[in-house]
């Protein structure tokens, strides 16, 4: 299997929505949801070609989300680690505090175009939930956010944002009470209300159209980064792009424009949480939430429980697109433990004026691991995809403080 050059990775599927010769993706959904999903696919294909819609999207990205997020060198961390140059694409500086802002905004815009008045989404860390709630408010839609009760408690600051924005937060108390159960419940809600409700799946997962919309939206990150790299270096230097992987939405956005580059030129490195790492641990392929993907399962085929301090990474599955990137060896996947992520946060927040959330702290951990072994000419860029405020309590509980 080879990736097609010059074709956006989201479009490298067959007519049934499968990637990689039928191995990943597809549309494993109930008959009831078939038609609404087909309608949504048609609408999305139309909108992504419509100049008017793209203008609207760009307008919202610029004026509502605050425009280009910063890209800068981390001099202290570079000096401290003594190897590669370390740069930060600080996506957390966006209005909305995480890459999910792009995806939530686009979904609200699509919902508006579809004529539906209700929007439903799942959330783990609460970043997608918060941004969807805000976007729904902005566009006068009624939002329902599905969230596991464990996550409601550990990501309380984001729940507050959602409620203040007027969204209904639906607590999901089944199974592990985390993201996987929130997604299931949200999909069930969609099956029951697909005639009136737009489903905004919070990550690059789900039936084909949902992961396409997600990765299409977050790809704004790599469009910006490409411009910023050329501005700084005059060319695309030898790069390592490090990104955390939960469902995989931020990485796909961060990497999108760079997939056609040779991997010796631009290396793509994904970092999963140690006990939620289907890609790094060569998990089996399983069908979860509408798609075939690398996924942690037990012997019987039941979806396995995961464990991570980070709510956004506490998910057994992975994006079918990451399956494709893994199988074609375009991206490399590794993992970081809770402790490694916490240590990375400590170091990065001590040396730099950055307060990453637990999710990107995993990416920072890999950066810290490999930077000393590299040369000055190597450029590492880490996607700092979420702000740490939401994890303040967890940081204090685990490392004793949260820096000012």
């Amino acid at each position: 299997m080879k990736l097609k050059k010059g074709v956006n990775i989201i479009d490298q599927h067959d007519k049934f929505g499968f990637y990689c010769n039928g191995k990943f993706g597809g549309n494993f959904v109930a008959e009831t949801a078939r038609k609404p999903i087909e309608d949504l696919s048609k609408l999305f294909e139309k909108l992504r070609k419509s100049k008017k819609f793209l203008k609207k999207r760009d307008f919202y990205f610029k004026h509502y989300l605050g425009g280009e997020t910063p890209f800068f060198k981390l001099n202290n961390l570079t000096k401290y680690l003594g190897g590669a140059q370390i740069w930060c694409k600080d996506v957390s500086a966006i209005n909305g505090d995480a890459h999910k802002a792009y995806h939530a905004t686009v979904n609200a815009l699509i919902c508006k175009e579809s004529g539906k008045k209700f929007i439903a989404g799942d959330t783990g860390a609460g970043m997608f939930g918060k941004n969807l709630a805000l976007a729904a408010k902005e566009m006068k839609l009624s939002a329902k956010i599905f969230m596991g009760t464990k996550d409601i408690s550990r990501q309380a600051p984001n729940v507050k944002f959602m409620r203040e924005a007027g969204a209904e937060v639906v607590p999901v108390d089944s199974g592990s009470k985390t993201l996987v159960d929130a997604v299931s419940e949200c999909m069930r809600h969609y099956v029951s209300n697909c005639d009136t409700t737009h489903l905004a799946v919070g990550s690059a997962i789900g039936a084909n159209i949902f992961l396409k919309i997600c990765a299409w939206s977050t790809s704004q990150i790599s469009r910006e980064l490409k411009r910023q790299l050329i501005r700084e270096f005059g060319e695309i230097p030898k790069l390592k792009l490090i990104n955390v992987i939960g469902g995989g939405s931020s990485a796909l956005g961060f990497w999108n424009e760079f997939i056609d580059y040779d991997k010796k030129h631009v290396e793509l490195i994904g970092v999963e949480a140690k006990y939620a790492a289907p890609l790094a641990t060569n998990a089996k392929v399983a069908i979860l939430h509408g798609a075939a993907q690398y996924c942690l399962v037990d012997k019987e085929g039941q979806i396995a429980e995961t464990h991570s301090l980070s709510a956004g990474l506490d998910y057994p599955g992975s994006s079918p697109l990451h399956g494709l990137l893994k199988d074609t060896k375009r991206a490399r996947y590794t993992l970081a433990s809770d402790k490694e992520a916490l240590n990375a946060f400590k170091l990065v927040s001590k040396l730099e004026n950055l307060r990453p959330s637990l999710e990107p702290a995993h990416a920072w951990s890999e950066c810290i691991r490999i930077a000393p072994k590299l040369n000055k000419t190597d450029v590492i860029v880490v996607n700092n995809c979420g702000k740490g405020y939401k994890d303040k309590k967890i940081y204090i509980e685990n490392i004793g403080y949260y820096p000012k």
């Binding site: 494993f28 109930a30 008959e31 199974g175 299931s184 029951s192 939430h289 085929g301 979806i303």
Partner: protein
């Protein structure tokens, strides 16, 4: 075959009533009870659907989720389900049995191996909730090859064109979902509306046995009795939950419920 799905429908039609199809989750609330429940209701049902519990169901309502949860907590495995089907089929009052589940459970076991095993233990039909047309073409072919009835689903959202395509390739039994919903919510459309949809399906395929499911209870079953068949699932699962909560015997309670359901279809 005397006891085949097709004959069962013929027989019910001769008696001028719809076939009554039960849905329970295999292993709910434990292995022994679920087999006892099925045995005890068999004289009043025409076909038994047995659910394969999965821990990430995307189309089940609360009642069936609870049932699946109980079955999984009590350790149900595919291996047990096959053994239990085999055991059930030895009962001389047994009815055709359809296994219903999510594709992941089959995919994980291996499609070919799964269907072979089904044939071996006497499974008559299969419903795979999240393997819809046209993605199910290959699977449907495998079922046909092994004389297992692959039951296609039709929903209120299914367009007429798609309906025609599905019916064209479907086996003799087709499952019509009554409303836009997960399993087991209260009916949110009128029974008249459901029968209108049913007639559309029957007009396209008069000779297929079309069964209606989702939201059917003691209250609504009587008004739908002109259909070829009616599936009651969540109402039974709910009765199991109620019995357990009241420390009553789910076997006798479910048996009574099914008897009443049967009465209302005559």
């Amino acid at each position: 075959m005397k006891n085949s799905i097709d004959n069962i429908f013929k027989e019910a039609k001769n008696q001028n009533r719809p076939a009554l199809i039960s849905y329970t989750v295999c292993g709910d609330n434990n292995k022994e009870n679920s087999l006892n429940i099925l045995n005890s209701i068999s004289e009043n049902i025409d076909i038994a659907e047995w659910g394969i519990a999965h821990n990430c169901p995307t189309a089940d309502g609360k009642e069936i989720q609870n049932s699946s949860y109980r079955a999984l907590t009590n350790g149900i495995k595919l291996k047990n389900i096959f053994q239990m089907v085999k055991k059930y089929k030895k009962n001389k009052f047994s009815k055709p049995i359809i296994l219903m589940g999510y594709y992941q459970m089959i995919f994980n076991y291996g499609e070919v191996k799964f269907i072979k095993k089904c044939k071996e233990v006497g499974v008559d039909g299969l419903i795979v909730v999240d393997l819809s047309y046209p993605d199910n073409k290959n699977f449907a072919r495998l079922c046909k090859k092994n004389s297992i009835c692959f039951v296609q689903l039709i929903a209120p959202t299914t367009s007429k064109q798609r309906m025609k395509e599905i019916l064209k390739v479907s086996d003799s039994m087709v499952y019509m979902i009554s409303m836009i919903s997960t399993t087991g919510s209260a009916l949110k459309v009128t029974t008249r509306k459901i029968m209108e949809n049913y007639k559309i399906v029957k007009k396209i395929s008069p000779y297929k046995n079309v069964v209606i499911g989702f939201g059917i209870t003691e209250k609504t079953i009587g008004k739908l009795k002109s259909a070829d068949g009616l599936v009651v699932g969540s109402a039974i699962c709910k009765e199991i939950t109620r019995s357990l909560n009241n420390r009553q015997n789910p076997v006798t309670n479910v048996s009574r419920l099914v008897k009443n359901l049967k009465k209302k279809t005559i």
